[in-house]
């Protein structure tokens, strides 16, 4: 079993083919056997071709019995004529003592003829025997000839069948060759068409692939744009909301700011008034009975500004504050050492005060709400004392 027959489909086809053939054979109901008597006498089946004897034996078969019968008749006639003639001669000459010479001659002739007749009979019997043998040979030869003729007929029939078969085979081969050539041409044409179609399919496939890729990219791009647009819309909405909120807040802030400015200006005016009152009250309280630079010196000494500066300077968190405290300490040390009666000393102190811009720096430090309470109090006191100095100046 080759590889192809192992395939299930081929095996199935083979099984079904055999099954179908067996079913067809089972289903075929043949009629009665043809001409059974022909089997019993097969030679009678041969059409009108009686066995013929060989050509050389045919004249003998046809003329030998007739020739033998004719010879017998002739011999019998001659004998009868001679005997009858002899008897007539005896009756015509009664006084004759012996047979006349003619009779004797006839008797001799008759005897001779009888002898010949006997020989002829023997020859006839021999011929009849030969004829019998020849007939037997003829029958045997006829039988063999019939067989030979039959075989010849069969051989001719076989030859004719073979010739027909070869002719049909040649015709079929020619037809099949023609058909094969036609199929080959068709197959070539089909192959060309298939090749062209394959090329078209390849091109279309490439176009389709490119279009698919482009379509996918465009889809991705579109999806991204949609997402960005949606995000932008959401951002815009949020921004608008935030903007509205900021606008509202800004408006509220502006209102609060205006309100605060108003309150601040009121507070500043109030504070300024309070500060003036406080300065007057503080100065009067600190240096009761004194006036001018001398009062300021006394106030600084009473407040112990220089020592407190040295003490609390280390608590300052910011370097600018520490530097400011150093400046305060320096200025108040000079104030402490100042001779109120020396004009040049007072001018030098005033110059130092202007050069250091101490009052403005103290104001800036006091505006810092996170400033330490002790530092704030020291700076405030220093500012009040310096205000008195400037007023004196």
């Amino acid at each position: 079993m080759d590889e192809q027959e192992r395939k299930p489909e081929t095996r199935l086809e083979m099984l079904l083919g055999r099954w179908g053939a067996e079913e067809a054979i089972r289903g075929a109901e043949p009629g009665a056997p043809p001409l059974p008597q022909g089997v019993r006498e097969p030679r009678q089946q041969k059409p009108a071709r009686p066995p013929r004897p060989p050509r050389s034996l045919r004249p003998l078969l046809r003329w030998a019995p007739a020739a033998a019968a004719a010879a017998l008749l002739v011999a019998a006639g001659v004998v009868l004529y001679i005997v009858t003639r002899g008897q007539m001669d005896k009756a015509g000459s009664p006084d004759a003592a012996g047979p006349p010479p003619a009779v004797a001659a006839a008797e001799q002739k008759a005897q001779k003829l009888q002898t010949e007749l006997a020989e002829t009979k023997k020859q006839l019997e021999s011929s009849m025997s030969d004829l019998k043998n020849l007939r037997a040979r003829l029958e045997d030869t006829s039988a063999r000839l019939a067989n030979a003729v039959e075989q010849e007929v069969h051989a001719a029939e076989i030859e004719r069948l073979r010739t027909d078969h070869q002719a049909e085979k040649r015709t079929l081969v020619e037809q099949m060759e023609g058909r094969l050539a036609e199929l080959n041409r068709q197959a070539e044409a089909k192959e060309k068409q298939i090749a062209q179609l394959n090329e078209q399919i390849d091109r279309l496939q490439q176009d389709l692939t490119a279009a698919t890729a482009s379509d996918a990219a465009l889809k991705d791009e579109l999806a991204g744009a949609k997402r960005e647009l949606e995000a932008a819309r959401q951002g815009q909405a949020a921004t608008v909301g935030e903007l509205n909120r900021q606008r509202k807040l800004h408006s509220e802030t502006l209102d609060s700011l205006a309100e605060a400015r108003k309150e601040l200006s009121q507070m500043k005016a109030q504070f300024s008034s309070i500060l003036d009152d406080f300065e007057r009250m503080y100065g009067a309280a600190a240096v009761a009975g004194r006036a001018g630079t001398d009062a300021c010196q006394q106030a600084a000494r009473s407040a112990n500004i220089v020592a407190r500066c040295a003490t609390i300077r280390g608590d300052a968190a910011q370097a600018s504050t520490r530097k400011l405290l150093e400046t305060v300490e320096t200025v108040f040390t000079r104030l402490d050492m100042l001779d109120p009666r020396d004009g040049r000393s007072a001018a030098s102190f005033a110059s130092l005060l202007a050069r250091t811009d101490l009052r403005r720096r103290i104001d800036v430090a006091l505006s810092n709400v996170a400033q330490d309470t002790q530092i704030r109090a020291l700076l405030f006191e220093a500012k009040l004392i310096l205000a008195g100095v400037e007023n004196v100046g």
């Binding site: 179908g20 054979i25 289903g27 001409l35 049909e168």
Partner: protein, 184 residues
């Protein structure tokens, strides 16, 4: 060739009618089935079977059992007879010559082996389970040796339907025979 066939041939040559009838009974079914599956009508198939056996017995003296089997010799005569009467068929495209030839190749008796008998019965059983229309198409194809065109003409349905039904039937038969262990 079996000894019985040799004896029968010898008896036929001696003019024995009973021997002749025995040989006829042995081979006539297959010969007639071959003609029927080649596209001849039942009457023509019968006539050609008779013609085949007349020719065979007239030439029986030329048969040489040493050169081949009696079945093969009769098959050759049957093919020649069929070819000489080829034009008596209907449309030859309705019949599959390959399946017709298969008729001459199988044994007369389907039970010549136990395995073949088992396969034959399994196929009969599987076909009996098919719907009648499919079973009819299978019989037209493999018993009557018809082509798709011939089945379409006999069953009066389009060729495309025949192909579809035949494919379905073969798939069902394959599954059934696989379940029975006939197909691997």
């Amino acid at each position: 060739m079996s000894d019985m066939e040799v004896q029968l041939v010898q008896q036929c040559l001696g003019g024995d009618k009973a021997a002749f009838e025995s040989l006829y009974d042995l081979h006539a079914r297959r010969t007639k089935a071959y003609f029927a599956r080649s596209g001849f009508t039942p009457a023509d198939a019968e006539d050609l079977t008779q013609d085949t056996f007349i020719r065979a017995f007239n030439s029986l003296r030329t048969f040489n059992g040493e050169l081949g089997t009696l079945s093969g010799w009769l098959a050759t005569i049957a093919r020649n007879v069929a070819r000489r009467h080829w034009n008596r068929r209907g449309d030859g495209r309705d019949f599959d010559p390959q399946l017709a030839e298969q008729t001459l190749e199988v044994k007369n008796n389907p039970t010549y082996t136990a395995e073949a008998a088992e396969e034959h019965e399994a196929i009969n059983d599987c076909i009996s389970r098919l719907p009648e229309e499919m079973a009819n198409i299978v019989r037209l194809r493999y018993v009557a040796a018809r082509t798709t065109r011939g089945i379409a003409a006999a069953a009066e349905m389009p060729e495309s339907t025949v192909r579809l039904r035949l494919a379905e039937a073969l798939a069902a038969l394959e599954s059934c025979l696989r379940a029975k262990g006939i197909l691997e």
